[in-house]
Symmetry: C2
Subunit: 184 residues, 2 copies
């Protein structure tokens, strides 16, 4: 695949798409608005991404990039995970777009499920006391992380939105830690 002359346009569309999807959700974000933000014609979006669905699929590509964490002691793993999550969430609007869409679009929900199963699952498995509880533990971690993100970045519940990053880690860290390592 050689580099194409239109790569800049494609990238601009993707950036604009993530911005609109993150701000408005899938159905309220219009191709026209995305195209306007990318300063091109709506028909270009169709040519390069086929359809609105195709555009979303491309824009919702995401990786959690959880570090290996082989060096850190097991008892601080919860806090470490929470801190990484917050950073990942605030540095990239893709997760916000994915969240806003996943609530009403099955394909987006499926993407969420695979992300947490394939990217968070293995990390949790290394910390879990017994292997067959790993999936459950990963799910529980997801409930706390996603719930926090929902309340802080989407619903903007004042007490949660006003928490500093450190305070958030101090509160959520032990919870995640317990989900990771506590015996059933």
């Amino acid at each position: 695949m050689p580099p194409r002359r239109s790569d800049a346009t494609r990238a601009a569309i993707l950036v604009a798409a993530r911005e609109r999807f993150a701000a408005d959700g899938f159905e309220r974000a219009t191709i026209r608005a995305i195209a306007a933000e990318a300063r091109i014609d709506p028909s270009m979006v169709m040519r390069y991404y086929g359809s609105k669905e195709g555009l979303f699929a491309a824009a919702a590509e995401f990786e959690l990039r959880i570090p290996s964490m082989t060096g850190v002691p097991v008892e601080t793993l919860g806090a470490e995970l929470v801190a990484h999550f917050l950073q990942r969430w605030e540095g990239d609007e893709t997760l916000l777009a994915l969240m806003r869409a996943a609530v009403t679009k099955e394909v987006a929900a499926e993407r969420m499920r695979t992300i947490f199963a394939t990217q968070l699952g293995p990390v949790v498995a290394r910390a879990a006391p017994d292997p067959d509880s790993a999936a459950t533990r990963a799910g529980l971690v997801a409930t706390q992380m996603l719930g926090f993100a929902l309340c802080r970045y989407v619903l903007k519940l004042p007490p949660v939105a006003e928490l500093s990053r450190d305070e958030a880690v101090r509160w959520l860290g032990p919870t995640v830690q317990r989900y990771l390592t506590d015996p059933v």
Copy 2:
């Protein structure tokens, strides 16, 4: 306000609206679909509720109905709260409708905020060790509860959706308990 002859229709519309809003979210749920489910004409919805917004506002009326809990010992308050939440969630689709809408509609998000501030806040305040941490504690409880509901009922993450109600209480209870009573 005397009972009107059309009260049955009004109620049928409300039931259908909650069902469609819960299943599809605000934007995908159409007045036509709601009217079809209530077996009446779309224009009736407009006459009785003014607009789609007005209908949603009426359909999204909700109360958490948290019991007084004056009798229960403080150390089981977390588990009790979680159990009540699960039951409240599964017995009424209003919360699901509210959640699906709150992610993209500001007025729905505002409704969520007030529900948790005015209905969960006071209960948490009675258990919190110091009064000025109560709002934060209520917010934290909300992150765990809403996150669990999101993963279980909306995203349907398999490990979370498959948890029995008792297992859920056993896992989440201590977390909520800690948010309620642990010193900062």
